[in-house]
Chain length 461, copies 2
């Protein structure tokens, strides 16, 4: 990276906002992907859209690769500077600019933490559904980059379903605004939809307008233990097909339950010793409807072989239940030295087939696989635990196991990723899902936005 470039960037940012020392860039060498570490040559902490524009203009002129980043909680290496160069961090652009009750809209900067937005809109009786498990550390910018989901996606949809406006900076430095608070817009191509989930490869998103909903007045959370993963998966499919639409249908297997016990010390009522469990959240505009639908879901569970249905009786019981769910990743990591996890998705009715196929992979490679995730969407986090294997043996095996998992999911009509993105971690497997023609087309779209390829190079394909 030329000195002239760095000194110009420093001029744009002002003092203290360009990090170059080994220690100061340390935090930007990793995200939450297991086993990846990549050092940027420098890190720019931008404060506003004007700075982002000036930085990209300079990067274009000097041909310096730029990797955008906000929370750094991604799990596919999307925020890592594989080509070196500059990490452009938007973490300081973390203001909620507006919550507009009349238009049911929020205007936010990309560095706003998702959980902070949840609380801010809920205080006003509003609701922003997307709820990745990392909601207390991930940001709206990252959620937009990956089109993040979460448990409530089964009823409400993913991040992309809530973005109605975007301000972005193109690789050239041009600042462009698309959409706004308007709820329906078919003028021109759907550039907003294209930017969402593009993993920072097309433009740097500097402001986001989100659609909000009224906050549901009532909700209930159910925990249902099962005697086997097959029965739990079949039950999730049965609920999806039943005509009831829970806000969330989460799934976890016995290994997840044991790991949660080890990490948390105790578990919510009823789940200890179960071979699998489902968590349902049912919400609605009044308690009677919620109660009626909860009973219906409970009946389906019992018809699918569940013994008991535990309804969280207090807000602390609800919190404990969801804490268990959100800490599963941490719990599994505490249990094994390292693991990798893939968030494949299949059509909901193929969930039992996916679970069965994963058992075969477990046997074939003699590994432990722990599964949890969004059963209602057929979106499962498949965690393959390293166990006692040494690092070298593990590295060799990992790619083979990943290929088998993706082949299984794609064979069931599914996909490589339901919500984490492709990033660096899955790019070698894109050919399992896409034809050469399709990948070529996506690369041409990338070139239409970023002809010199300076934006987050080396990702997706």
């Amino acid at each position: 990276m030329p000195d002239a470039f760095l000194s110009r960037i420093e001029g744009v940012l002002g003092p203290g906002a360009l990090l170059v020392s080994r220690e100061s860039v340390e935090k930007y060498c990793r995200d939450e992907t297991e086993g990846l570490f990549m050092r940027p040559e420098a890190v720019a902490l931008a404060l506003d859209t004007g700075q982002v524009s000036a930085i990209l203009r300079l990067a274009s002129r000097f041909g310096v690769p730029v990797t955008p980043r906000t929370g750094g909680t991604g799990v596919t290496g999307g925020a890592l500077p594989v080509a070196g160069g500059l990490v452009l961090s938007l973490e300081r652009m973390n203001s909620i600019l507006e919550i507009d009750r009349d238009n049911l809209a929020a205007v936010v900067q990309p560095g706003v933490v998702t959980g902070v937005l949840h609380r801010a809109v809920e205080e006003k009786g509003l609701f922003y559904p997307p709820d990745p498990a990392s909601l207390d550390s991930c940001t709206i910018g990252g959620n937009v980059a990956e089109c993040a989901g979460g448990p409530r996606a089964v009823k409400y949809g993913v991040t992309g379903n809530f973005v109605t406006g975007i301000e972005c900076v193109l690789a050239s430095g041009a600042i462009e605004r698309w959409g706004g608070k308007v709820k329906k817009d078919v003028a021109g191509y759907d550039i907003i939809g294209l930017l969402v989930g593009s993993e920072g490869t097309l433009a740097v998103v500097t402001e986001i307008v989100l659609r909000l909903l009224p906050k549901p007045a009532a909700s209930a959370d159910l925990l249902v233990p099962f005697g086997g993963v097959g029965a739990a998966a079949a039950c999730a499919s049965a609920v999806v097909g039943s005509g009831t639409v829970p806000a969330a249908i989460e799934f976890m297997d016995a290994l997840c339950i044991r790991a949660a016990k080890d990490l948390l010390g105790r578990l919510p009522r009823g789940v200890e010793g179960a071979e699998a469990a489902l968590i349902f959240q049912i919400d609605g505009s009044n308690p009677e409807t919620v109660e009626r639908e909860s009973l219906k879901v409970g009946e389906i569970c019992q018809a699918c072989g569940a013994g008991d249905v535990f309804v969280a009786a207090s807000s602390s019981e609800k919190e404990r239940l969801w804490e268990m769910r959100r800490k599963l990743r941490e719990a599994l990591l505490a249990r094994c030295r390292t693991k990798f996890s893939e968030d494949v998705a299949v059509p909901p009715a193929s969930l039992p087939g996916l679970v069965l196929g994963l058992k075969d992979i477990e046997r074939k490679y003699r590994v432990e696989i722990a599964c949890f995730g969004h059963a209602g969407d057929g979106n499962v986090h498949v965690n393959v635990l390293r166990g006692e294997r040494d690092e070298q043996a593990w590295a060799g095996l990992r790619k083979e196991i990943m290929a088998d998992i993706f082949t299984l999911a794609v064979g069931l009509g599914g996909t490589l990723s339901g919500e984490h993105g492709i990033g660096l971690a899955k790019k070698d497997f894109m050919h399992l899902k896409f034809s050469r023609n399709q990948i070529r087309l996506m690369k041409r779209i990338k070139a239409a936005f970023d002809p010199a390829g300076i934006l987050n190079p080396g990702k997706i394909f």
Copy 2:
């Protein structure tokens, strides 16, 4: 169009499916856009994806423009062959290939009429929400091309929110499948989202996988007359901001009500003589919830100055109510010799400002403007009636009035089109909403799909 091309196309289609005579192509010279008539050199009636692929391969080789078409009910000229050449009609590809209850999905060909799909899925207890007013003649293919909406979009979203899979043929003739029945998919760019609403300019869509919902068990329809359009618009905004989410919030002004009376002979209870009216549909999983929410909406209406709230008491009353709404376009056309209509959308809270601004335009040009549409989304069909003006004077005035309407909508944070698309009719106004840079970017995306520009040339930009 070279003879060699035509004879090759005839070979692909078999006898009787290539139309060339003046009379046989007559129906393909127009869609439902007022005042547009364009003659194709030939019309190909394709029967399957293989034929579409062969036709596009030949068109690419011979450099012949191809305009895809299904129902021909568009109102922006999107299906008209502005550059001559071949109209590729998919009207015979009209099968519902599968309704998959377990996965809440339907697989359909592009020529399936939207209302036919509604009835087919509802027979199985399922629900496909998008409901353009033309639902008895428009097709899913056209709905996908324009990202069509309809009254129920305010609660459920537009066509794009329901498309999870697409099979398409690229300009080269290559057949590509994207997505499927999987509900969450972030692998690669969102090509499906980009194709939806691209008005046949990027690829020809030959099969569509749609997400379905369980059919709501109960619904109520309310008709609420108001003393003025301002009060009705303000009431619609108040309901949106209230925390209740009706399935539909439709709006119509006095001129619409009078035109409907003239066309239909009689009107639903309560609306005759009103200066404006709102129609609400409230749906839910049980009658008690629907009743509770209906009461709440009724109270808001009365707080906004409505005298009475009429609840449709029988299914025939419901049908009469929605018939009135769906026939408004026809009713207005019967009233004046010709009109043009623009489906601008603004943020919901700006609806009163839009209605007010349109009154100014009415006065400025001494025209009659009739408004109806999707008040809950801020999406209004603005109908400007020609009245007694002669054709030449009207042609001159039309562009000026359109520019004023679009400038008003964009100035309120809105857009040129909420659901009809840009097509031919609005392309001269794209600069009111998009920068040169933005239009250049969209053109580069078009070129990434269709480098020779044979697919529906002359549309959007």
